[in-house]
Amino acid sequence: MARVYNWQIGRTMSYWYSENRPAKQFGAVFDINKCIACQTCTLACKTTWTSGRGQEYMFWNNVETKPFGSYPLGWDVQLLDRLGQQKWEGNVYTGQTVFEAAPGGERVMLSKRETIDYSYPNVGEDEIYGSVERGGSLALPQQMWMFYLARICNHCTYPACLAACSRSSIYKRPEDGIVVLDQSRCRGYQECVKACPYGKVYFNAATGTSEKCIACYPKIEQGIQPQCFVNCIGKIRLQGWVSTPDKAREDNPIDYLVHVRKIALPLYPQYGLEPNVYYVPPLHVSDRFLVQMFGPGAPAAVRAYRNAKEDKTLQGLFALFGSTERTIPRFKIAGDFALALDDAGKEFMRVPIYEPVYIRPAQDRLYQIMRSNTT
């Protein structure tokens, strides 16, 4: 195994191949505080890519309820359990990644993936964590919580699927870092299916090959965000390009949220894959759970997000989410507007940071009636 640097765990680690970063890395931020699990993203993906024979239970995009939902079944708890108790020391993960914990003869610590694990996409849906004690329903913060976790392939910098494929059928595109599975080369060994700790590679029984999210690369190549992003009615998603911390740019929306403000965090960074979908963690969930899921930066990210209403740049950037179909490589704040800029710095979208507020008097003087605020 080679030694590579993984900035998300703050150290070098073992990986099957040497470090070889793409010219640009596909990145995304999901603000899951806004997700309502409407599954429009799931359907947008499904109708575009996985509506064929053998793809019936294949969801390149899915939204599950945490803490009890998971698709495929137990993808997260299963591996956490196998890895056992591990440790962060500050921002450095001193535990073992899935590459370092791989038993002899394996490239990656594998997960179990069986047909039954794909048979219950909605398991745990809307189930809450915790119980309400006497009078607890009136107390804040609320004792019970749940949240929705929207998931796609993380297009990891160190993909476990890629490392596990003995045929080298999976590769990272050098131009954009999107991880793709060569459908002409795959022989259906399913090593990638078992290796991806996020359970985001699927086996197609009809073709006998494995398949995964391709980040809608035909759209990306045209400067357009993927289907699950542009169809998100909650406007929780923003696709762009993520740099390494040393090359982070303040005017790059993804860099700003990930590196500058550290408000968007990777999913299970301790697995060691350097995943490139970043989550604004939910506000109302216990720190212990958030740290396990998003790393030690989660409590600070929650605090920063709580303060976003006082922060014009953050507010403006979040207003740009879902404002345009185009990928936003750069942004800036101008007055009360957030501007989306192309690579040359030319504006192509402008959104107001603050929604206009109209206050109508309770009494309508013209008709001499009191207005109802229920309409």
């Binding site: 890519w49 045929r167 002409s184 399913q190």
Partner: protein, 288 residues
Amino acid sequence: MKKKFLLVLITITGISLLASCGGPLINAQQVIASRTDKELPREDPNSSLWDKVAEHPAKLMVQDVAEPKLAEPGVETIRVRAIHDGNWVVFRLEWEDKSRSLIPESGTGSDAAAVQFPVEPGANVPDAAMGEKGKGVRIWFWKSVWQDDIERAREGKGDRVVSLYPQGSTDHYPYQANESAREEMETRYAPARAAANPITAQSNPVQVVMAEGFGNLSPAPIQEGTGTGQWKDGRWRITIARPLNPGKGMDTLEAGMRSYVAFAVWDGAAGHTGSRKMRSGWIPLVVE
């Protein structure tokens, strides 16, 4: 005692072909492809012709050369017989497998077996584990799912999805919306087929492949091969047939020559796929 005596005799004298009482002719040292003038049982693993030729019990070992390795041993012995007619040679392989695994699903594979030959016998024989760079191997690879595909099609039993989920129903597939565009749409939503992956267009239970080490297996230039398998009472009995001289880019066998052969077996129910397999080393092959 008599069997013990025979084993000792084989070891001491090197006489390879002996008959034990009531059982098949056993040749523990090598695989002998006996010549016949009769029609070759290319797709008949139960032909009476097989009763007349010697059997080699090939010991298999876990593939532990390249990651991912096989952690738990699978099939430890396969019984091999071979017949040729001067043009083709047929191998009959027999092994115990309690479960008959046909269509692979998440977590399972397809029962399979392979017969491997060095491109160049003699001093240039490559590593038996998939060959080496510059020293290739040619492999005739039988897979139960490919045979099942053909049998289901012949019997009008529908595709793999129907077979896996006979009670399953689906609201709608996009390709059903427009009959004139059905084929194009079906292919579009079957990316491996759209990308012309050979394993999705396998009209033969035996695929001929080539390799120069692990990880670079690809279809051979000549796809001349056939075979069939039967699973009964916890036992696979299959044939794999190949031409002695398939043509350019392939290895060549001929009557009277000595070469090598190696075998591999996958147990689909145990999740054996790819390099997770039981394999043999090179075994001497005599083409009579």
